[in-house]
């Protein structure tokens, strides 16, 4: 069931199993549920809980006050004649504040069990962990609420308890510093309590999202990145328009098309997907047709099967082949859907502008393209992404330009967005140009953020994930591995927040003896979110022949430009009662 967690170098299934064990132990405590049979699952909402013939009701919640109010309402409106047992399981941590709130509401004693389910880092794939904390970036950079960083530090401690102490910690940014400090402190606090395990990770790299604000703004051009940009992947699933997935049966020529969106799970357990997810979209077509040939060749094999033994062997492979064929059909359909969009003029135009910004063309004046888009009232988030990108690539906009954009946006989309614009300014995505020199070109040149001759089919550099732009965050990671950050001191100073290195004592006898040719393993933790294209770039580095480092990726949340900007928006109207 979790085969996708095995494939990497680090067996993330250990983490998953540990988490499952904790959950089972909790369910054990709710007497009666001996088989852990979950009868029904409901989404939390006010009023009375829908009826279900059960004895136990477990609230599985994040520790947030507004959720406590809903739970209190649920409990209060419970049928007094048929009382059921209530339990609360806080994820990832109990909160005194929430319990206090339940007490104020007079329902705290209605709970048979109150416990916490320490689930900080959720394994998403063989090399990917996410906290799925949606508002983490907003909380850290906009609201100075570092709760999610505390959970991140705790998550890293859990990880170290299972995979051994990580001897080296590097980091860049304020949040990274804070997390590292908490980790070192927690390490002292729990001295002696950890069982000794040979370290699996050699290095931990903590990166603040605000060190690299540019990358998420750019449109991702890998297959998975585009799926996310266009259809948005949530919790490893994507919902797609159903038309292209209609089952064509003989006789009924598409009589009843499905109306429900097609829901697909996306992870490396699917062989074909693992192969193409991180490719530049322009290389996906070729890969798909190659695969199609392999599969039909495999099916043709049946004609060569003469003896009973051969036929038997053919039949035994059938399920696998059929799965491969349906997987191929699915991805061909998805690729077609994406192609419809990527070949449109709109897409091309906006990509061109993005690339101009990233290469530093005309970033200091009003872009006619953006102007036209506003006039056409294109989606607001698209506009915000572009304006922010221009601002980031120019290290701020001239006051006149900035005010012009702002007025355009407010007049077209409504004055209420003034709060959103202020938020974007507060986190540094939008800013007026200071007297300081625009240092983006220096950063771009030193870190080789723009590569002219990117090869999309057979890439030799990470820049293929954005067809030319090499994500800054991943470049920092790459340079750290070789030749080291000392070579880019100057650039590091230009990026916000401190950069640092810490070492953690590993008990003697647990020092890793590396075999010649054995790769190092680095855990890269993106505080504030990471995009699929960045993940693709890191996977590319892991797979490079002479890279010498394999990467495991952790993050507070999987994001793309749209979901990211959305998390920073304030629309006061939505708060209307």
């Amino acid at each position: 069931m979790a085969s996708h967690l095995f494939c990497g170098r680090v067996n993330l299934n250990i983490l998953r199993e540990a988490a499952r064990k904790d959950l089972r132990e909790f369910l054990d405590k709710c007497s009666g549920s001996k088989e852990h049979e979950v009868e029904k699952m409901f989404t939390l909402k006010g009023g009375r809980i829908p009826s279900a013939a059960v004895k136990n009701i477990v609230f599985f919640v994040r520790p947030r006050l507004e959720l406590m109010d809903i739970i209190a309402e649920n409990v209060a409106s419970e049928d007094k004649l048929h009382p059921r047992d209530f339990h609360i399981l806080f994820v990832p941590r109990r909160s005194l504040l929430c319990e206090q709130r339940l007490k104020e509401k007079g329902v705290l004693n209605s709970f048979t069990n109150i416990d916490e389910y320490i689930l900080d880092l959720i394994p998403y794939d063989g090399d990917l962990l996410s906290m799925e904390s949606e508002s983490s970036f907003r909380e850290c950079y906009l609201e100075s609420d570092q709760t999610s960083l505390y959970h991140a530090a705790k998550g890293l401690m859990t990880l170290q308890a299972l995979y051994g102490t990580i001897p080296q910690i590097f980091g860049k940014g304020e949040c990274a510093r804070h997390v590292a400090n908490m980790m070192l402190r927690m390490k002292r606090e729990f001295a002696g309590s950890h069982t000794q395990i040979l370290p699996v990770f050699d290095t931990l790299l903590l990166l603040d999202r605000n060190v690299d604000l540019l990358t998420p703004l750019a449109t991702q051009l890998t297959y998975e990145g585009l799926i996310d940009e266009i259809f948005s992947i949530t919790n490893g699933y994507v919902k797609l328009p159903p038309e292209k997935f209609a089952q064509k049966k003989q006789g009924e020529g598409g009589k009843d098309l499905p109306t429900e969106p097609k829901k697909l799970q996306l992870n490396s357990a699917e062989e074909l997907y693992a192969e193409i997810r991180d490719k530049n979209f322009n290389a996906v077509g070729a890969a798909l047709s190659k695969k199609a040939k392999v599969i039909s060749a495999a099916f043709e094999e049946r004609h060569n099967a003469k003896t009973v033994g051969e036929i038997k062997q053919f039949v035994s492979q059938l399920p696998h082949m059929q799965a491969a064929r349906s997987s191929l059909a699915n991805h061909t359909s998805i690729a077609e859907l994406i192609k419809d969009i990527t070949t449109s003029e709109d897409f091309f135009d906006s990509l061109t502008v993005e690339q101009e910004f990233m290469t530093g063309v005309d970033t200091d004046k009003v872009s006619t393209y953006i102007e036209d888009c506003v006039a056409q009232k294109d989606p607001l988030i698209k506009i915000l992404r572009l304006v922010c990108m221009q601002s980031v690539c120019n290290n701020g906009l001239k006051q006149k330009v900035l005010d012009f954009y702002k007025r355009e946006i407010l007049q077209t989309y409504g004055y209420k967005h003034i709060l959103t614009l202020k938020n974007l300014e507060k986190v540094g995505l939008l800013k007026p140009q200071s007297t300081m020199r625009n240092n983006y070109p220096t950063i771009r040149k030193t870190l080789k953020l723009w590569m002219e001759d990117t090869n999309e089919q057979n890439p030799n550099d990470i820049s293929y994930v954005y067809s030319g732009y090499a994500p800054l965050s991943v470049r920092l990671t790459q340079v750290l591995a070789r030749p080291g950050w000392r070579s880019i001191e100057e650039v590091l100073k230009m990026l916000p927040g401190p950069h640092f290195e810490e070492r953690q004592q590993v008990p003697t006898g647990l020092h890793k003896k590396r075999q010649p040719g054995e790769n190092r393993t680095t855990l890269v933790f993106f505080l504030g979110g990471v995009t699929y294209a960045e993940i693709a770039a890191l996977r590319f580095l892991s797979n490079m022949e002479d890279s010498g480092t394999e990467y495991i990726i952790a993050t507070t949340k999987l994001i793309n430009g749209t979901s990211w900007i959305k998390s920073l928006m304030d629309s006061p109207e939505e708060n209307l009662p």
Binding site: K34, R94, L96, G192, E371, Q411, Y415
Partner: protein, 835 residues
């Protein structure tokens, strides 16, 4: 050695033995007569209370606590109410259940800990009988009240009282009853005459034990095995019925031929035992019954009590302490007369070896020929574990060690750990410690719990020695013991704070994972706040320091420690505490000095207390945020006046913050709102709340061009946007005439290609053509193509000699129909100068 089997008695296929554990150290005048006695399982302490004298209630009986060897641990006069029952919890606490349903809890050294009540119902109808039981959920108390109802608490550390359903037809006290733990629930099994009932939370179910002897007319006694798996019933006809406790299966039934009511009955069954067996005790007589007709009878000289254990029954009398158990398999194999089991042979071989006789070799050969040497070693090691006498243990272990020499690759772990376990067990079995644990019990209770028990007895040194000897990880072993020691130490009133703090820190310095906050809490509880603060300084986990600091009213320190920990929930907790403790001014001042706490509190207010948020911004003169606050507030208002009033406040604040742009923009917003309302009143169009752009679109679509024009000027909208807007609005309306007029009003700032495209979008090719001619040369090709005029596009492209444009046109030509055109284009393409 010959005497090993001296105390064995056969019963059916197996043997039973009675081992003396201790000669009791106490000196009881009347033995155990007329005493309430409770002995904790796993070789725990014994509590004694002389029965209350009903005639002189003022006479205070003495409550005494002894170790299993009879050494006094505590003694004090009983001053509370009439005690019905004594019992021990799993953590060696003494429970005294009073007649009124109050339960008093003491530690094993006689220190009062707490008390709790078993509910009103119990205190009104008084306690008739009580049973204290242990389950995986902890220690429970079951009470039969005077009203003949049962009340039950499964875990006294987390009391949830359950009143069980009524037993139908119950007139007087039931003849006997017991508590069962089944399906994660505690149930009561009640016998009322010949009838048996099971009571659970919801129902009272009559049950019948399968195959119960028909002579019986009532059940006079019952007992449940240590594991709750088995049940034994004694009938008035003297039959003992044994079966599974779910009453599904009968294991055996034996006629004791004794009809009197027994004093006590207990299971005597070892895990993996051959047969079910129970012990029944009458005055002066002890009977072991199993599967066969025969029984084993022991004569008892003294009043005794039975203490059921996992692997046998302990018998405590006024003078002696014995263990009665089925002889474990390994011991039986080795010591049974004339046994030829490999273990027996190995023992024999080793004996001969010690005597330097060559017979040793013969015995060894015999075992080796059957390839049973490893089995022999295993048997000897196992048997050593079950023997009580160190001499016998040693003999067996030496034999095992001897046998091991002739084996290659025999894993040594079992032997090594048995040696270690026995050393620990012999130490705690010592008379002075008095914990007569068997090896089976030790494995079941785990080392952790044994350490705890030593700590409860304040045997710190022994506990630490055991931890060190067994190499327990420091965190679970030595550190834990030291913490307990320190908790005890800080309660010693006679020493000064400095001395104690120093003593504690010196002893605990190198120990990992010490919770100083727990020690500090103990100090605080015994009234030593200063000492507590001193000790807290040693606590590495700042999060742990906070609750105690709050309790001690050291709130500023608590707040900074909470922030240090990084745990925001903890910070919130302190902040909320301070909010209730301090007056508003002081509270705000304290937050001001702690930015982390302040921003968290602001977050809280944003969701919960909007007004407080405003006060906070005011205090900091944060006009920018105040402006934002009013803007947000304006959107919560339904009435326009109120909305505008809020916006006006926002404008004022933005000016104070010197944020001209925001102020001006907000003024614009107010202007727009007023305009929208005016127009709504005049023209009856829904407008309020629309953006400027949408307002104008609406105006144009209903033909209010003048008003749109006015907004365009008033709000200084860029030309480009206005042209786009008007173009789209008119096309939407399909007002082609007005569109043409508009196109001619002045030179279009957006060019004329959009005109072409918009018309095409609305499927009006004819109108679109009108604008093609006006399109600038750069866009002409596109325009021609948009209206489907390939030839025109070709002309334009050739004229412009632009290669990519020619290619675009080519891609739109079909080779069959536009044959000539394609040729022309290709020719033109060839002549385009290469860059």
């Amino acid at each position: 050695m010959a005497f090993v089997t001296a105390n064995w008695n056969p019963l059916g296929e197996s043997f039973y033995r009675k081992i003396e554990l201790y000669e009791m150290g106490w000196n009881l005048k009347d033995g155990l007569r007329d005493c309430l006695v409770a002995a904790a399982p796993y070789g725990g302490p014994i509590a004694l209370l002389k029965a209350h004298n009903r005639r002189s209630p003022s006479a205070r009986p003495q409550l005494e606590i002894f170790s299993s060897s009879g050494l006094p641990l505590a003694s004090f006069p009983w001053k509370s109410g009439m005690v019905k029952q004594l019992g021990w919890t799993v953590s060696d606490d003494l429970l005294c259940v009073q007649e009124d349903g109050t339960v008093l809890v003491y530690d094993l050294l006689g220190g009062f800990k707490r008390h709790f009540s078993m509910g009103n119902e119990v205190s009104q109808s008084q306690v008739l009988e009580t049973k204290i039981f242990h389950s995986p959920y902890g220690t429970g108390v079951a009470i039969l009240t005077g009203a003949l109802r049962f009340t039950l608490a499964t875990n006294i550390d987390d009391i949830k009282l359950r009143r069980l359903p009524e037993v139908p037809g119950l007139q007087g006290a039931p003849s006997c009853w017991a508590v069962l733990t089944q399906d994660r629930q505690s149930k009561v099994l009640v016998a009322s005459g010949p009838h048996l009932f099971i009571l659970d939370n919801t129902a009272c179910t009559p049950v019948t034990p399968p195959g119960l002897s028909p002579q019986a007319s009532s059940i006079v006694h019952m007992c449940v095995s240590f594991s709750y798996k088995y049940l034994a019933l004694l009938t008035d006809s003297g039959h003992v019925w044994m079966g599974t406790s779910n009453l599904k299966e009968k294991l055996s039934e034996v006629d004791t031929k004794i009809k009197g009511s027994p004093k006590q009955m207990a299971w005597c069954r070892r895990p993996k035992s051959q047969q079910p067996s129970a012990v029944v005790m009458w005055d002066g007589l002890l009977l072991v019954v199993g599967e066969c007709k025969e029984t084993i009878q022991y004569h008892l000289e003294d009043d005794s009590i039975l203490v059921p254990e996992l692997d046998g029954v302990r018998i405590i009398s006024g003078t002696h302490h014995e263990l009665l158990q089925e002889v474990p398999g390994a011991c039986e194999e080795i010591f049974k007369i004339a046994s030829m089991a490999p273990g027996a042979l190995l023992l024999e071989a080793h004996k001969e070896y010690e005597k330097e006789s060559q017979k040793a070799d013969e015995y060894l050969r015999e075992i080796k020929e059957q390839s049973l040497l490893s089995e022999a070693v295993r048997q000897c090691v196992e048997a050593a574990g079950h023997e009580h006498e160190p001499e016998t243990q040693k003999t067996l272990l030496r034999a095992a060690s001897f046998g091991k020499c002739f084996l290659s690759n025999f894993p040594p772990e079992q032997f090594v750990s048995m040696c270690k376990d026995l050393r620990v067990l012999n130490a705690v079995r010592d008379y002075t410690v008095g914990i007569p644990l068997s090896h089976t019990q030790f494995k079941q209770m785990t080392l952790q719990v044994l350490i705890d028990r030593l700590v409860y007895r304040k045997l710190y040194l022994l506990a630490i020695e055991v931890c060190r000897y067994l190499k327990t990880p420091e965190y679970q072993g030595v550190s834990r013991v030291l913490k307990h020691w320190a908790c005890y130490k800080v309660q010693q009133k006679e020493e000064s704070d400095e001395v104690i703090a120093k003593a504690v820190s010196v002893k605990l310095a190198d120990a990992a994972g010490i919770s100083y906050s727990e020690i500090a809490t103990k100090a605080y509880e015994s009234g030593r706040t200063e000492l507590a603060i001193k000790l807290l300084e040693f606590e590495p986990r700042s999060g742990e320091q906070v609750p105690l600091l709050l309790k001690m009213k050291k709130s500023p320190l608590a707040l900074s420690k909470a922030i240090e920990s990084g745990d925001t929930d903890l910070v919130y907790t302190v902040v909320m505490y301070l909010k209730n403790e301090l007056n508003r001014g002081d509270f705000f001042m304290m937050l001001r000095n702690q930015p982390v706490a302040l921003s968290l509190y602001k977050q809280f207010c944003k969701h919960q207390e909007q007004e407080t948020l405003k006060d906070l911004f005011n205090q900091d003169d944060d006009h920018e945020e105040l402006g934002n606050f009013y803007v947000k507030a304006s959107y919560k208002e339904q009435r326009l006046e109120a909305r505008i009033a809020h916006l006006q406040s926002a404008v004022d604040e933005y000016y104070k913050a010197k944020n001209e742009f925001s102020a001006k923009t907000t003024e614009d917003e107010m202007r727009l709102l007023r305009f929208q309302r005016k127009l709504e009143e005049e023209k009856d169009e829904q407008l309020v709340g629309f953006s400027l752009q949408d307002t104008m679109t609406t105006l144009l679509s209903v033909g209010l061009h003048k008003h749109a024009e006015q907004l365009y000027k008033d709000f200084r909208m860029p030309d480009k946007r206005f042209w786009w807007l008007k173009l789209k609005a008119l096309a939407e309306k399909e007002d082609w005439e007005e569109l043409e007029k508009f196109s001619k009003s002045k030179k279009s700032p957006i060019g004329y290609l959009p005109f072409v495209e918009v018309c095409i979008k609305h499927h009006n090719k004819c109108e679109a053509r009108k604008y093609v001619a006006k399109v600038s040369p750069e866009q002409k090709v596109k325009a021609h193509l948009a209206v489907g005029d390939v030839e025109g596009a070709a002309e334009a492209a050739i004229e412009r000699r632009n290669e990519s444009e020619i290619s675009t046109v080519l891609s739109r030509c079909s080779a069959t129909t536009d044959h000539l055109l394609v040729e022309r284009l290709n020719r033109a393409k060839a002549t385009v100068p290469k860059k």
